[in-house]
């Protein structure tokens, strides 16, 4: 059966169905689809790569072990992001990590911890000048996102980085739609203020 599966064109619900039948490639397809967005969300929330990897792994283990309880009438992405967001929020509550430094998290006292809690800004341009500008812009954006309150941060990442609709964000965060709109509006206002000189 495996050879006949066209996983790339299949919906999440179909892939989950195959995973429930024990098809390993279906599990790998779910991981391929969601490991980056889930990890990116958690990493931006907790700002510690190792911790983010652990939480991402816990999220996937929890989700993949509970596929039998997944109800296909709901979006799979909403389900997995809800679990990921809850894991990140729980961690933030435990660690009280709510501010960001690109040079390392607030609890970073050793060089290893500084490295682990520093956000890494990727290269997105080719010329040295463009690269410099991009890195500066990337750093400023990451810094600005990191300074948002966790609930604003989750909303703005899901809306503008992942491109999710309002109603799905509301479902993921278990918030009223109006509240999500407000959070995003406020987050944008804070980002505009922080990024003011770079926005032109």
């Amino acid at each position: 059966m495996n050879q006949a599966l066209d996983l790339t064109a299949a919906t999440d619900q179909q892939v989950v169905g195959w995973a429930r039948d024990g098809v390993e490639v279906a599990y790998r397809e779910l991981l391929r689809r969601y490991e980056r967005p889930v990890f990116s969300l958690i990493y931006r929330m907790v700002r510690d790569r190792e911790l983010a990897e652990d939480l991402t792994q816990e999220t996937f283990v929890k989700v993949l072990n509970a596929l039998d309880r997944y109800r296909p009438e709901f979006k799979f992405s909403s389900w997995i992001f809800k679990i990921a967001n809850n894991a990140a929020i729980d961690q933030l509550r435990r660690k009280e990590l709510d501010t960001l430094s690109l040079e390392g998290g607030p609890d970073a006292v050793t060089p290893d911890r500084v490295e682990a809690t520093s956000l890494q800004v990727g290269d997105i341009s080719e010329s040295p000048l463009e690269e410099l500008e991009a890195r500066e812009l990337g750093s400023a954006i990451e810094l600005a996102i990191g300074r948002l309150r966790p609930e604003y941060r989750a909303c703005i990442i899901m809306r503008h980085v992942d491109g999710r609709p309002y109603d799905e964000i509301a479902e993921i965060l278990d918030l009223p739609l109006g509240t999500v709109k407000t959070y995003i509006h406020r987050a944008r206002a804070e980002l505009r203020e922080t990024l003011g000189p770079l926005r032109e």
Binding site: G163, T182, H185
Partner: protein
């Protein structure tokens, strides 16, 4: 996290844009969206998939579950002996056919090998074909010396075919009846 009422904040802007939920992120704030959309998509380290899958319980593939189900059904219904009998008889058939046919047609097979040799089979095969012909002749001699001989083997082969068919029929009937009960 305390929910905030939309009416308190950003009402004017929301009203100006009608329903923001119908806008794309880029339409809502193009400049900010362009910046935010360009941020890095972080990825976990290599072998992340394998680490996750090593901790995930996966159900067996469907065909394994079917085989297991069939085995459990056989035990539950007490028809396991029927199955063992069918398998035993079924595995005897090829052996009986091979031995019976080989001894019966040993002369013809040997003649065929000789014919191939005469038609120009490469010399590499000459020794091998000669050995095969000699071995078959010896086998025929030994089988003929046995009390039952090749005729008995042919009889076993012929008799096992209907036995196997009856076993398969009984087995499939048992399974169908059990599934209906389920």
């Amino acid at each position: 996290m305390k929910p905030v009422d939309l009416d308190c904040v950003g009402k004017n802007e929301m009203n100006d844009r009608n329903d923001v939920t119908k806008l794309t992120p880029a339409e809502e704030d193009p400049v900010l969206h362009r910046h935010l959309a360009a941020v890095t998509a972080y990825a976990p380290r290599a072998l992340f998939d394998d680490h996750v899958l090593s901790r995930v319980w996966r159900p067996d593939p469907e065909w394994i579950r079917n085989v297991r189900f069939a085995g459990e059904e056989l035990v539950d219904t007490g028809r396991v002996w029927l199955w063992i009998g069918a398998v035993t008889v079924g595995s005897l058939i090829p052996l009986a056919v091979l031995l019976g046919g080989g001894t019966t047609f040993a002369t013809e097979i040997g003649a065929g090998i000789d014919w191939m040799f005469q038609k120009g089979i490469p010399s590499l095969w000459t020794a091998a074909s000669s050995d095969m012909s000699r071995t078959l002749s010896q086998l025929e001699t030994r089988m003929a010396a046995l009390p039952l001989g090749s005729e008995a083997l042919r009889a076993v082969a012929a008799g096992s075919i209907p036995v196997l068919a009856v076993c398969a029929w009984g087995l499939s009937r048992t399974m169908r009846a059990k599934r209906r009960e389920g």
